[in-house]
Symmetry: C2
Subunit: 253 residues, 2 copies
C-alpha cells in the first residue's frame, strides 16, 4: 500500500486533511511542496495535479484532490478510526457543516490571509517576473487572486469577508451551546475543516472581533481541538513561512 500526501504548511487546506491523516493514525509519506518557491505551479507538481493546488493525496496511484473530497475518501478507505458518523443523519450533519465551511468561510478568511501575507510576497517580486509566475498558474480564478493580492483587495471585499467570518462565528457559537462537536457528539472531518480554515487563528487574525468575549464556546472548542494528539501532530509538520509573515501558522507551539 502506498499513501502519499503532498502538502504545504500546517494551515488551511494542507492542515485540514493532515489532521484527518494524523487523527486516523495512518502511515503515510509526507511530501512538502514549497509554496514560497511556487512549487505548486511547477511542471513536476502540475503533472500530479493539473490544477496546481495543494494538498493532493495519492493512494496506490489514484490521485485525490480537494480536501473535503480527500477527507471523505479517507473515511471510505480507512474506516478503522472513524471521523464520520456511522448513521446517515449524522453523515448529513457533517456534510452540511463541511459545505458551510467550504462555501461560506474558507474563501473569506483566505482573502484576509492573502491580503496580509501573499500580497506582501507578490509585491516583493518585480513585475516582469511576476507576470511569468502568474502565467504558469493553471486555474484562471487563482491567477486572478494572485493579481488582486498584488494590487490589493478592495476595502469593500475585505469588509464583506469580515461579515462572513462574524456570521460563521456566531452561527457556530450558537450551535456549540447544544453540541460538543460540529456534527454532534463525535469529532468529525467538519471540526478539522472549521479549525484549519478559521477556528485555529480567528482570534489572532481578528482581534477587533473580540472572539474570547463574544464567542467563548468557539474558544473552548478550539482549546479542545488544540489538545487532541492528532491535531498537535499535524501542527508539528514543517513550517517554512517567514516568521514576520505568519498570519495563520505558528501560534500553537
Amino acid at each position: 500500500m502506498s499513501l502519499v500526501y503532498y502538502h504545504a504548511e500546517p494551515a488551511a487546506n494542507s492542515l485540514k486533511s493532515m489532521i484527518c491523516l494524523k487523527e486516523k493514525g495512518l502511515d503515510f509519506e509526507s511530501r512538502y511542496v514549497d509554496l514560497h518557491k511556487f512549487e505548486q505551479h511547477s511542471e513536476w507538481f502540475v503533472a500530479i495535479n493539473p490544477e496546481g493546488q495543494v494538498p493532493v493525496l495519492v493512494h496506490d496511484g489514484a490521485v485525490i484532490t480537494q480536501t473535503s473530497v480527500i477527507n471523505e475518501y479517507l473515511e471510505d478507505v480507512f474506516p478503522a478510526v472513524p471521523l464520520r458518523p456511522a448513521d446517515a443523519v449524522g453523515k448529513a450533519r457533517m456534510r452540511t457543516w463541511n459545505k458551510f465551511v467550504d462555501e461560506h468561510v474558507m474563501n473569506y478568511v483566505s482573502m484576509h490571509g492573502w491580503h496580509r501575507m501573499v500580497g506582501v510576497i507578490a509585491r516583493s517580486i518585480d513585475s516582469g517576473e511576476f507576470e511569468k509566475l502568474v502565467e504558469r498558474i493553471p486555474l484562471p480564478d487563482q491567477r486572478k487572486k494572485w493579481q488582486t493580492a498584488r494590487s490589493g483587495f478592495s476595502e469593500a471585499d475585505l469588509a464583506h469577508a469580515t461579515d462572513k467570518i462574524v456570521y460563521a462565528c456566531a452561527k457556530i457559537e450558537a450551535h456549540l451551546a447544544e453540541n460538543v462537536w460540529l456534527a454532534g457528539d463525535m469529532f468529525t472531518t467538519a471540526d478539522a475543516n472549521f479549525y484549519s480554515m478559521c477556528g485555529m487563528m480567528v482570534e489572532r487574525m481578528f482581534p477587533e472581533l473580540e472572539v474570547a468575549k463574544n464567542y467563548p464556546r468557539v474558544i473552548d472548542w478550539r482549546e479542545r481541538m488544540n489538545a487532541r494528539p492528532g491535531v498537535r501532530a499535524a501542527l508539528e509538520m514543517p513550517d517554512h513561512t517567514n516568521p514576520a509573515l505568519r498570519t495563520w501558522t505558528g501560534h500553537v507551539r
Copy 2:
C-alpha cells in the same frame, strides 16, 4: 417509512434532488412550495428549514437540507438503485464534480436567472411591500441577492458569471471526450447536479455561447439526460412559473 420532499419548480436545486428521487424509484410525498408567493420565507416553512431555502427532504422526522447533502443521504439510506459509484475512487470523482458544480457553476447561472426572472418579479413589487418581504428572509446572503436582483446585477458581475459558465462548459466538453458520464461509466448525482444547474438550459439561456457548435458533447450528454425516464418524470412535476418569465423551466415538454 415517511419520505417528504418540499420543492419548487423542476429546475435548479429543486430539480437536482427530484431527479435522484425519481431515478431511484422512491415512493415519496411531494409538497410544492410556491416561491411566487414567497412561501419559502413563511412561518410554516421556516419552522421546517430555518434558512428558508428549498428543497428540503424530511425522512422519518429527520430534516435534510442542501441538495448535494440530500443526494448523498439518499445514497446512504436507499442504496438499491445506486447513483454513487461503489468504489472509493469513483465516489471521489463524483464528489469532485459535485463540488465543482456547487462552487463554480451554480451561483453563476443562478445570477443570470435571477437577473432575468427574479429581477422582474422584485421590481413589480412596490418598495414598502418589498422591504417587508426582504425582512422575512432568514439568510443575509439571500436578502442581499433579492435586493441586488431588484436594483440590477452589475455588468461586471454578469460578465464574470458568463466567464465561469464558459469555463465549465469547456471543462466538461473535454471531460466527455473520455467519459460517458461525469464520474465515468456510471450515471451519478454529479450528472443530476450539472444538468439541473446548467446543462439543461445553457443552450437556451446563452445563445451567444453557440453551445451546439462549441460544446457538442455537452449537447449529446444533455440529450441522453433528457431521455432518461427518471429525468423525464422529474421534469413533469408542476411548473407554475409565468410562461413569459421561464428562463430555466418548460423547455423539454
